[in-house]
């Protein structure tokens, strides 16, 4: 064994057939797993120009070699597909327990094609895979589906990944939920499952997950465990959750409020991680093999669930002008129940609020008013009432009413919780992310705000392009490995190389890992170019380039697209239009861009 189960289930829902195949050795070497496997499989087997909700779209669910090996924070799996939201080669990462259980069920991953004739679910159990009838679960929330399935199967240890009503309705904000409250959130992958009539994947079983060198991995585990436990950032994550960021980001003057109109939210303390701990927190929870336990289990009005996280707190809080933490928590839970991307959902509501404020629409929500918030989220999930206007994200909504400038999105995907006018490197990561508006494909907040691995001036542009490239490439390899990105607060590229070498039995260096990450990044980039994205799309909403911040330390600043973008292309070995050069592709062992078009 080498960390992998060495089995992938290829599921053709249209024909009702499953083929279980050996995990390809060359694919393991070139792409590691997780996001790498998904990106490679989709880009090599599918034309980029197909309709994402067409039968031909593939969706993959892939673990990495470290998933379930017991290495701290090794629990992730990745959903990849052509995004119905923006057409990019999307990947969305999730933790919890499902990834580990998929490997205990005997599978590195699953590739799904075609559309089932009726609502179906995929059942994975000890090396076997079956397509089963999901009629009893169609129309149910993710909570209902998860709880009922485990009860119906009589298997409390089974783990459930599913979509909610939003995915069934093929909403472009629909996400994939596992373990009730963990989300592979971005890009609309829930709509792809819905389009395929695939409601659920169940994983159960007790098959072994063995690394190549258990003794070496045990030693690495101890070292990694110590580094994580001694890292103060991980300590704060345990105590206050990701919402510890609310005050940090606010004090730096970059906490977006009222649809990024300003960074002057009056009551950040009311929605902070500190306040959460004092009020609604019941306990901390960790994913499989996690020693950080950043997830929050909270109680509101007698209901107890997992969440919310920082992004959701910001999205339904400061960005809507709302400071009611219990209400914000309920809105997040509702997104999980309905299977909605909370960043996209809240961003779409913020967009509608600003358009209402400016008089471009005559109905809809207003800033600071949480009265109808839960009903509106419910409408979005069920495609009803005014909510039906927002099911496909802020960009399409703003375009429909003639004002795309109010969509705070990149490549049609809503932006997360950091104003890039005070964060030049993070802004570059937003603009160049190969999945569109996103914060976890290159988390420049670490050096620009948190000071790890070293402090970088957030207002400086010089040298940022190389930092962004390295962060993006390293993140891609972490996403491929099955490790949680939060390990990067404590570990460096050499640590990851050590983990991977002990797990797979193949010696790999930090430079090798970065090269694999770069390969994954370029695969996604080539796909996006073939879809039709150009340099013009590597940018941010006009507001962030032309309207200076009015408050705080970054007052007067905007995001400086140039020279950042040209330097970034140069660091990547791309031409002036952001197209990988033949030399770069050859170095990475990839075909030229034109080859991608041959599939369309």
């Amino acid at each position: 064994m080498d960390g992998y189960t060495n089995k992938i289930a290829w599921v053709d829902l249209g024909k009702g057939k499953i083929s279980i195949q050996e995990t390809d050795a060359e694919m393991k070497r070139q792409y590691i797993g997780g996001r790498g496997f998904g990106a490679h499989i989709i880009s090599s087997r599918m034309g980029p120009r197909i309709d994402p909700r067409d039968l031909a779209n593939l969706i993959t669910f892939m673990t990495g070699p470290t998933t379930g090996t017991g290495i701290p924070l090794g629990n992730r799996y990745e959903v990849c597909t052509k995004s119905p939201l923006n057409g990019t080669l999307m990947s969305a990462n999730s933790g919890g327990v499902f990834g580990w259980k998929m490997k205990k069920a005997g599978f590195d991953g699953v590739v799904v094609s075609g559309k089932a004739k009726k609502p179906s679910y995929l059942y994975l159990d000890n090396g076997k895979a079956e397509i089963r009838d999901a009629a009893d679960y169609w129309g149910k929330t993710t909570y209902e589906t998860t709880d009922r399935l485990k009860e119906d199967l009589g298997d409390k240890k089974a783990r459930v990944l599913c979509i909610g009503p939003a995915g069934e309705n093929k909403d472009l904000l629909a996400c994939v939920i596992n373990d009730r409250d963990r989300a592979a959130g971005r890009g609309g992958s829930g709509a792809v499952m819905g389009a395929k009539n695939l409601k659920v994947i169940v994983a159960t079983g007790d098959m072994p997950i063995k690394p190549a060198n258990p003794e070496r991995l045990d030693a690495v585990k101890e070292r990694v465990r110590t580094k994580i436990q001694e890292n103060g950032i991980c300590d704060a994550l345990h105590l206050y959750g990701t919402s510890v960021l609310v005050n940090i980001i606010n004090e730096n003057g970059i906490l977006p409020s009222r649809n990024f109109q300003d960074c002057n939210f009056p009551n950040p303390e009311n929605v902070s991680g500190e306040r959460m701990r004092e009020t609604i927190l019941k306990k901390e929870r960790g994913c499989y093999a996690c020693i950080v336990k950043c997830s929050r289990v909270c109680e509101v009005e007698g209901e107890t669930n997992e969440g919310p996280e920082y992004e959701g707190v910001w999205g339904f809080g400061p960005n809507l002008g709302i400071d009611d933490l219990p209400l914000i928590t309920q809105a997040n839970w509702l997104c999980n129940k309905l299977g909605l991307d909370n960043i996209g959902t809240a961003g779409s509501i913020a967009c509608a609020m600003e358009m209402r404020e400016k008089g471009y629409i005559s109905e809809g929500p207003t800033f600071g008013d949480g009265t109808g918030l839960l009903e509106l989220v419910n409408q979005i999930g069920h495609r009803e009432g005014f909510g039906a206007e927002l099911t496909d994200g802020s960009y399409r909504f703003a375009v429909k009413y003639g004002h795309p400038e109010f969509s705070m999105s990149v490549k049609m995907q809503d932006l997360p919780a950091y104003d890039p006018r005070g964060l030049q490197g993070h802004g570059l990561a937003y603009a160049t992310s190969v999945r569109g508006g996103d914060h976890v494909y290159g988390y420049m907040i670490s050096p620009e705000i948190l000071g790890t691995p070293e402090k970088l001036d957030p207002y400086a542009t010089e040298g940022k392009a190389l930092w962004v490239k390295i962060f993006q490439d390293l993140t891609a390899s972490i996403d491929a490995s099955g490790l949680c990105l939060f390990t990067s607060f404590a570990l460096n590229a050499d640590d990851y190389a050590d983990i991977m070498s002990a797990t797979t039995g193949t010696e790999i260096s930090a430079a090798d890992l970065l090269k694999i990450g770069e390969r994954i990044w370029n695969v996604q980039k080539l796909f996006n170019l073939a879809v039709g994205y150009t340099k013009a799309d590597d940018t941010l909403p006009d507001r962030l380039l032309t309207e200076p911040l009015q408050d705080g330390a970054p007052k007067g600043r905007v995001w400086e697209r140039q020279p950042l973008l040209d330097e970034y292309y140069a660091e990547r070995g791309w031409d002036n239009e952001g197209v990988p050069t033949p030399e770069k592709l050859k170095e990475l062992g990839l075909g030229e861009p034109g080859i991608m078009h041959a599939h369309t």
């Binding site: 103060g232 950032i233 919402s243 960021l245 940090i248 500190e274 950043c294 976890v440 402090k455």
Partner: protein, 102 residues
């Protein structure tokens, strides 16, 4: 600018603390200091009067812990004059222990 009883010029700054630091010091307080006081001198005053705070901010050599962040009016002092940054009337000093998320 005010003067103390000895005629020395004094001023007020606001200190805000976050996360685990609140075990040792109020989350927000007004501090009266001499004109020309630096951030380092302010921290020495605070650690002298708040037991436990020193270990949260400084290592055994007296250097700030690597991931401690101190902002003066929203700007990290690392990009100003570090601990030698001179304070001004009504400055807001925000002190964060190592912390982060995503």
């Amino acid at each position: 600018m005010q003067e103390d009883e000895n005629g020395a010029e004094i001023m007020k700054v606001t200190v805000k603390t976050f996360a685990t630091l609140r075990q040792f010091i109020d989350k927000e307080s007004q501090v009266t200091i001499d004109t020309g006081t630096t951030v380092g001198e302010l921290l020495n005053m605070l650690t002298a009067t708040h037991p436990g705070l020193k270990n949260e901010l400084f290592d055994e050599t007296g250097e700030l812990h690597k991931y401690v962040n101190i902002l003066k009016n929203g700007r990290n002092i690392h990009f100003l004059d570090k601990l030698r940054t001179v304070l001004e009337e009504n400055d807001l000093i925000a002190i964060f222990p190592p912390s982060g998320g995503g």
